[in-house]
């Protein structure tokens, strides 16, 4: 069934069952493979995207849920917070294996878009749904604080 969804600022037409998980459409139909499949049950956060500025686990949302809304993936995220996060991530060499990092970055950006000076608690609560098997959590938190300083 033809559907139009707005992804990274562009209207994209896809031929998909409305109940298809958004993640499948992003990766398979649109070829945007920066968003990762981790668990498929909203437990790991690897598939996190932004919809109307809020985080969304794209594995657990039907593509029909984003009709008329703005989806941003790791390929399209570009706010000042996103640029600060990118810089901090590189400077602190946050990434280890990297598989979870697009989800981590999307959650970090969503937090900093809304709160420029988050506390440790703010960070822990916002990032609690993104797991990292390499346990880069300390560097992630430090990088979010570093990005916040850049934004100040």
């Amino acid at each position: 069934m033809p559907l139009t969804i707005n992804v990274n600022g562009q209207d994209r037409q896809v031929d998909a069952d409305p109940a298809t998980p958004l993640l499948w459409v992003i990766r398979e139909d649109l070829g945007l493979t920066g968003t990762k499949y981790g668990c498929g049950i909203a437990q790991c956060g690897a598939c996190t995207v932004h919809v109307d500025g809020q985080t969304l686990r794209s594995c657990t949302a039907p593509v029909s849920a984003v009709a008329g809304r703005k989806v941003v993936t790791i390929e399209g995220v570009s706010s000042p917070a996103a640029r600060a996060v990118q810089k901090a991530w590189v400077e602190l060499d946050v990434v280890q294996c990297g598989y979870c990092q697009s989800g981590q970055i999307m959650s970090a950006v969503a937090l900093l878009d809304k709160k420029r000076r988050p506390s440790d608690d703010d960070i822990d609560h916002a990032m609690a749904g993104n797991i990292c098997r390499c346990a880069t959590y300390q560097r992630i938190r430090a990088a979010i604080h570093a990005a916040a300083k850049q934004l100040a």
């Binding site: 109940a19 998980p21 498929g40 049950i41 909203a42 437990q43 956060g45 996190t48 809020q54 985080t55 969304l56 686990r57 594995c59 657990t60 949302a61 039907p62 849920a65 959650s107 969503a110 937090l111 809304k114 709160k115 988050p118 703010d122 609560h125 916002a126 990032m127 609690a128 749904g129 797991i131």
Partner: protein, 200 residues
């Protein structure tokens, strides 16, 4: 065959226990308000009606989202919600980790994540976990803690609110709350009509 299982009544019980589906349906039933008409004392009848309604109120489907603390629970065993989530300032999650990050407008069977358009935790003043049924009853009648609801509005909430109604359509392998929302609403209506007495 042992002498105990040769007893027809016991054998019937063993068979009943073995038919899990039937037992589950039986355990999940709710009595009708009329079935309490044998209790002559109106206040005692009211209490008994609320105890019956309490089978719903204290089911995991309802208690999980009425946490006493910051974190909701999940599952029949009411373990802490995973991943870690908090109620946040508006009972809809933390900044950057909102309920709607995972819970969509309907149950999503491919992931097993439940959903409803108004998914949120009940406010702290409406916490049901770690409270007795009598304490919950008193809380439901207290307009300072029940969101300013009159008893008519409370009945409306229990009988018609669609988020309350999710408890009977939880999706996945979750057991629904006992009975139906209509039966639950009828019990609450009868409880209010008989004076809304609380269990001791």
């Amino acid at each position: 065959m042992s002498s105990s299982t040769s007893c027809p009544a016991l054998r019937a019980l063993v068979l009943l226990a073995a038919t899990c589906g039937f037992c589950s349906a039986f355990a999940a039933d709710l009595r009708s308000p009329d079935s309490f008409s044998g209790i002559a004392d109106k206040t005692e009848r009211s209490r008994a009606l609320f105890v019956e309604a309490g089978k719903v109120i204290q089911s995991p489907r309802c208690l999980n989202c009425h946490p006493a603390g910051e974190r909701p629970t999940q599952g029949a065993d009411m373990h802490l919600h995973s991943p870690l989530v908090i109620r946040g300032a508006d009972d809809k999650g933390a900044l950057g980790m909102r309920c709607a990050a995972c819970h969509q407008s309907a149950n999503f069977e491919p992931s097993g994540v439940p959903g409803h358009p108004l998914w949120h935790a009940a406010p702290k003043s409406m916490a049901w976990q770690q409270r007795s049924l009598g304490q919950i009853c008193a809380q439901l009648k207290d307009t300072r803690r029940n969101g300013g609801k009159s008893m008519a509005q409370m009945h409306e909430h229990m009988a018609s609110d669609t988020l309350v109604g999710w408890a009977w359509q939880p999706g996945g392998a979750r057991d629904p709350a006992p009975g139906t929302q209509a039966q639950f609403g009828a019990l609450i209506a009868a409880w209010i009509e008989t004076g809304a007495a609380c269990p001791r």
